[in-house]
Amino acid sequence: MKVIIVGGGNTLYFLCRNFAAKGYEVVLINRNPEECVQLARQLSAMVVCGDGSDPAILNEAGAMGADVVLAITPNDQDNLVICQLASLQFGVPRAVALANDPDNAEIFQNLGVSAFSTTHIVGSLIEQRASIEQITNLLPVAEGKVNVTEIALDAGFPVAGKLLKDIELPENALVAVVIRESQPIVPRGATRLLAGDRVVLITLPENHGPVLKAFTGEGQ
């Protein structure tokens, strides 16, 4: 597979290294002569120095036979034009633009160019991680030697629907109370945990993380 990447900086460097390691043929286009020299030294890729939105430069980089063009410059207008030239003038089957301004991701799609926004991607990743917000640290007891934590059970958690006795918990952990539809239940082995339950856990600091993982399935 032949990939042309237009842009600079760390993202370009690491992407290129990654692609080259997979055996792709990578050509880089960068308009800064000093960075080009640097890149050519550090990477085994072909480097073309120039403006990637100039058809002559794309041609020099071999756009005619490329499978993918990736435009990741810091300027959205350049990324759009690079991709349009690549697909319209050089017939590149896949041209993908970085939308620095997240609003432009949708606009580029409407203009017929595949686009992605790192702001969107990173933002949603952080939200996913933070959705472990379902965990509330209630209170530290005995100067933090004991944690009392509440977890709201999601249908996707591995413990949802299981009997308490079938859940493998690390040592020194206790399911103290299950709150189901505002009713507290002091659970026994035969109590089944359901999605929507709020579970109050007592843990010691050393196994706090593993216990949470056992409940949420996160980090496996």
Binding site: S53, D54, P55, A56, N75, D76, Q77, D78, L80, V81, Q84, L85, L88, Q89, D101, D103, N104, I107, N110, L111
Partner: protein
Amino acid sequence: MSNNLYIVIVGCGRLGSHLANQLSHVGHSVVVIDRDEAALNGLSSDFSGFRVEGDATQMAVLKEAKLKRADAFFATTHEDNVNLMVAQIARKIFNVPHVLARVFDPRRQQVFDRLGIETICPTSVAAEMFLLAVASGRAAQGDVQP
């Protein structure tokens, strides 16, 4: 063109400000967008339109200029790619009926003709006029071209 048009111009350099002054002078409603406040000060004192300071490649700025209502849109910044991008947005997303972009590089012009974006290339226009002058100069000397 009808009596009073709503015209949005991106870029307030020599071309943009000249167009804005002229169009405002003959009675059109003109909005000029430039990211540089100093450039907007280059408009003439009798310019009666609106000035928007901001980067036209950002959707919020184009919305502020009320592009939906525009009858015509001219992209005249000194960056070809900015002109091509905002012209496409004006045409395809805001459905502005009359869109023109200035593009310096004639090689870029062809692709955008295909995308349905009308472009004016000052390089090609000037070259044609020079060539015409050369040809007519020759003709005046009675030197007929092959």
